[in-house]
């Protein structure tokens, strides 16, 4: 009787010649916070649209709360909250009007479920008479989340909720997600921010319509197969260009004021690298071995797929 919150089997969706979703299978247990990561066009939004019953799959099946996304779409819609990637509220309605509108559609009222949204909504309530179109990015996002929650859904689908949102608001947003999760809501969220991926129970890397990996952030990091080093230089761009041509290097990527460079295990020779850079007129400082971050891991996995 205890079916998973979401269960996807051989899910395929074709747009013309494009396989937007290519044979996906995975389960999401109740109460999980699952993150989706992948480049633009990978299929994240399409997947969310299938699971929220807005698109019908070409093959395969998907169940939400044990209900079929095609057959039982009406029931599913009552049980889920969806925050699409584009701001989808009514720009010319006020904050409060938007929330009332969503509450009414689902046959409830703001008062009835106020407890659920209090945390979030109280932060924008002082502006409740302002038109939604005139809110800042962080406030729009809080309003959209309030609207997605007002009917007390068991499962939330959040499509890039923090894109364009500043670092402090992002942090607050994730604190809210954790509290919602503690209140027994299952959350599926996509994000381009790697620091947010670490906050999920599991992450799914999605690329070209396939799930390449679905596991805990700790596992992603633990299975990173290369030796990774960090190097500092005054001229990061010059250093990067020189490193890209260095024989035997796997990747070289900018990370703030350092460059991360990876080699096959035991293939790194510091003296040889320093000689090479010196010849190019670059004197790097502080080469040291470091642990991979999740961003290193995902760039490695994405780079492999693209060939």
């Amino acid at each position: 009787m205890d079916s998973p919150a979401v269960s996807v089997k051989n899910l395929t969706l074709r747009y013309g010649d494009t396989l937007a979703l290519n044979d996906l299978s995975f389960d999401v247990p109740h109460g999980e916070l699952l993150g989706f990561i992948g480049p633009d066009g990978a299929g994240k939004t399409t997947l969310f649209r299938v699971l929220t019953t807005l698109l019908v799959p070409t093959h395969g099946s998907a169940q939400v709360d044990g209900l079929d996304v095609v057959k039982d779409y009406r029931q599913i819609r009552n049980n889920i909250g969806y925050m699409p990637g584009r701001f989808s509220l009514y720009q010319d309605l006020s904050v409060e009007e938007n929330l009332t509108f969503f509450a009414t559609i689902f046959g409830t009222t703001i008062r009835e479920n106020y407890d659920l949204i209090k945390d979030i909504y109280s932060q924008i309530e002082p502006f409740k008479n302002r038109k939604a179109g005139q809110l800042s990015g962080g406030m729009k996002q809080k309003l959209a989340l309030s609207c997605a929650l007002i009917h007390k859904p068991g499962i939330l689908f959040l499509d890039e909720p923090t894109t364009g949102v500043d670092a402090v608001s992002r942090r607050e947003f994730w604190e809210m997600l954790k509290r919602l999760q503690a209140g027994d809501i299952t959350i599926l969220v996509s994000t381009p921010y790697m620091d947010e991926a670490v906050l999920c129970d599991r992450v799914a890397l999605i690329q070209n319509g396939r799930i390449m990996k679905i596991t805990t952030p700790a596992n992603v990091i633990a299975s990173y197969p290369y030796s990774l080093f960090s190097v500092k230089a005054d001229d990061i761009y010059g250093l990067l260009k020189a490193l890209r041509d260095y024989p035997g290097i796997h990747r070289a990527d900018a990370f703030g004021q350092t460059v991360h460079l990876s080699f096959n295990k035991d293939e790194f020779r510091e003296a040889a690298l320093l000689d090479y850079l010196k010849e190019k007129g670059i004197e790097p400082a502080g080469i040291r071995e470091i642990k991979a971050t999740i961003e290193d891991c995902f760039m490695d996995l994405m780079g492999k797929e693209e060939g």
Binding site: G137, M139, M302
Partner: protein
């Protein structure tokens, strides 16, 4: 040695909307060829300041010049000497790649021959030759951003304003975009950029952080991290914005 030329000079910029002070006595300079990071929380007043510096809005008071032109009296000259790319894309979704380039070339008053030459070299550089007749809405976000950036540079501006140019793209594409920024800065173009990615703040030569309409800090990323005893710009940002 000659002092570096200041390509943007802002003195006591104030912009009010009714009682609300969006920009509260901003004073700063941006040097020629610099990558200047203009950071701040949502609603801190960044977009307002950018619109004023691009000659789209008048300030309430203050003195400003961009590329050597006065923001009150020489707005058309300001506009001819700047490029602009916003988070919402400056490209037309229902025009093709090639049509967008031609359109912007025309807007900036380039001759037909120059437009064609630049269009081809641009598409070649971005590896978009095969996509030339594709509609913008059908190409990936990362391509759009690179194209929008290149189009903003089509008329060889002295300064380019980038308003959250990398919002929503994956880590590899973001870095490719920053390579383009570096290359432009090396060729002498001044880059004025906003971002919510704090690792990108570290790629800037200098960074300002706005809090509630004011500039709360302005320095190199290295100096800011020292000043705030932080290992990352993310911590610097959070300290400044949370302490308000």
């Amino acid at each position: 040695m000659r002092e570096p030329e200041n390509i943007i000079v802002v003195k006591d910029l104030v912009k009010k909307f009714g009682d609300f002070v969006a920009n509260d006595h901003l004073t700063f300079e941006v040097r020629k060829g610099e990558i200047f990071g203009f950071l701040g929380a949502n609603g801190a007043g960044k977009t307002t300041a950018i619109k004023i510096l691009c000659g789209l809005w008048y300030p309430t008071s203050g003195k400003m010049s961009v590329a050597g032109y006065d923001i009150y009296t020489q707005r058309e000259k300001v506009k001819r000497n700047i490029g602009y790319m916003s988070q919402k894309f400056s490209l037309y979704d229902d025009l093709t790649v090639f049509e967008n380039i031609r359109f912007y070339g025309g807007i900036y008053g380039l001759k037909k021959k120059a437009i064609n030459e630049r269009a081809w070299s641009l598409m070649k550089r971005l590896d978009l030759e095969d996509a030339r007749d594709k509609l913008i809405r059908d190409i990936p976000l990362g391509w759009k951003q690179k194209l929008a950036f290149s189009v903003a540079l089509l008329h060889n501006p002295k300064v380019v304003f980038l308003d959250e140019p990398t919002g929503g793209v994956d880590p590899i594409t973001r870095r490719q975009f920053w390579n383009m920024i570096y290359e432009s800065a090396r060729s002498g173009i001044t880059v004025f950029v906003t971002t919510h990615y704090m690792d990108e703040a570290e790629y800037c030569d200098r960074v300002s952080i706005m809090v509630d309409g004011r500039i709360a800090a302005l320095d190199t990323p290295e100096n800011l991290k020292q000043q705030f005893h932080s290992a990352t710009m993310n911590d610097v940002f959070i300290q400044l914005v949370r302490s308000k």
